[in-house]
Symmetry: C2
């Protein structure tokens, strides 16, 4: 049986035909022409999927279902508001059904989709209760309960990047203070390193950025950490401390079988995972018990296509 | 069909025969002789349940199942460590099965049991995804998913009183800083009012305590709030602010149909619920969407017997 997964991002749309083993057999992509508006982007998605199938001699009736990941929340009415697509309460689910009347369609938030992919074929494979933190520009999340995507009563759950876990020196884009996203996103890591350097601390991070503080990225911070740079050490340790507080609260709340860390930040998996388990243990309630395995994601960017393909 | 629910507390054990409509038909209680040790308490529970049945001409084979609530975590092996019962890794589930071989037995943490009761017959009746905060000396929690008690992969979930939601001026009993319990338990309310008074603030709370700061209780704080006392106002507002942060994080994570507040503190339900909805809305991510109803528990102390009776 074959499945199609479509990962709709702010700059590009990736589509893939996936087999039952989670292998992407064929793939095709196109640009997201945000400026052309919702209807045109939906037309482009239709063309993308149908040409992906046509070019590989597949009939749409051979496809079990098509799943879509969107950088947004999908409300109970199927409406989507996705700021970086310029969509405001667009009839996304209705439009998908109209474009693809021949086949079942499913859609979820992209972080939830990534969690489904990791739970089906990646780092969280075969786990009943699984939580994924996607650490990138922001912090997204996906929750799997009884093997299926869980987004709550109104579809707005699993936004674990906006769990309030402390007090921070700047507010979150969502208007609150203390969201996990403001401690543990790539943006948060960059901001904190910049803050320390602006306060006069010396660091090789600034050398890596060729003296331009604005061009610092998270990779430079992790690379400097490897060199023993004190500012990088302080920045990464703060990141890990708050990540462990968030994960401990998650263990105390959902007690998952496994927690997986994905997103761009997880490329520094060796640094992130080192001692994290012990740090989480310090912050949970039942410190002597076996608890949640903590790992990094394994599917990389493909989780978007694979997870979407296996939505149900 | 009849069910038996047993609520095991640090001072007393309550047992009840409950019908299918959640009505307690007969009840009986005994003291918890903590000092006699685990085996003796289990014997007392056996005697309590059997005499409750005998006195009401009921045969144990007429009972569908017996459920138990304990002030503790039950691990995967059925072992219980309950500090205020003086139990350390006792074989609780094994012992229950030996005492009551004629009938199915179930057991859960008491806050989870209360949530089951409220979800079956009380404030959260008929809701698929429901969360209960029990605000008492500490803060307990119960999570219902798909209508059933959810405690996670290792049974240590739903301890939402130990979600880390900020930074506090004193540490939690669990060893961490910033647990919900340190902001929103009765103990936390008392401590904060005492702190303000010790700092020299005038308050009628102290008059209610007849000048003895050590005897302040949460009821005095809420009663003083009704009188417009500024220290009480500040204390209650702080409590509500952090409660709203915890609930907003819960909405962002599990997006429940309903959240119910139980425990002793919820007796001041009018004060607690006033404006709480709006405060939670301010702290959630999707501020314009319909979200979780927030209510107070309705079964009171009976939730312990009723919820235990309907464990499955």
């Amino acid at each position: 049986m074959l499945f199609v997964g479509v990962d709709i991002g702010g700059t590009g749309i990736q589509a893939g035909v996936v087999n039952e083993e989670g292998k992407i057999l064929y793939r095709k992509e196109c640009a997201t022409k945000v400026e052309d508006g919702f209807e045109k982007v939906m037309d482009d998605i239709n063309i993308l999927v149908r040409s992906l199938l046509g070019e590989n001699d597949l009939d749409i009736y051979e496809i079990n279902s098509i799943g879509f990941g969107v950088p947004s929340f999908i409300n109970k009415k199927g409406l989507v508001t996705a700021v970086n697509l310029g969509w405001y309460e667009v009839e996304f689910i209705e439009s998908l059904k109209n474009k693809f009347p021949e086949v079942k369609v499913y859609a979820e938030n992209d972080a939830t989709v990534a969690a489904v992919g990791e739970a089906k074929f990646g780092s969280m494979k075969g786990k009943d209760i699984a939580v994924m933190y996607t650490l990138g520009t922001g912090v997204g999340g996906g929750i799997i309960i009884n093997g299926r995507a869980f987004t709550g009563a109104n579809g707005m759950g699993s936004e674990i990047g906006h769990a309030i876990i402390g007090e921070n020196y700047f507010d979150c884009n969502c208007g609150n203070n203390g969201c996990l996203e403001t401690f543990c996103s790539a943006t948060a890591i960059i901001k904190y390193a910049q803050k320390l350097i602006e306060e006069g601390r010396e660091s090789i991070i600034l050398d890596m950025a060729e003296g331009d503080i604005k061009t610092i990225n998270a990779k430079m911070v992790f690379d400097s950490y490897r060199e023993g740079d004190v500012v990088a050490l302080e920045t990464v340790n703060r990141f890990k401390l708050y990540l462990s507080k968030a994960m401990a609260s998650m263990v105390n709340t959902l007690d998952p079988d496994i927690i997986s860390i994905g997103g761009g930040v997880s490329r520094a998996s060796d640094i992130i995972l080192e001692g994290l388990d012990e740090l989480v243990r310090q912050h949970i309630l039942y410190k002597k018990e076996d608890f949640t395995d903590i790992v990094c994601a394994t599917l990389g960017a493909d989780a978007g296509i694979i997870g979407a393909a296996f939505l149900s």
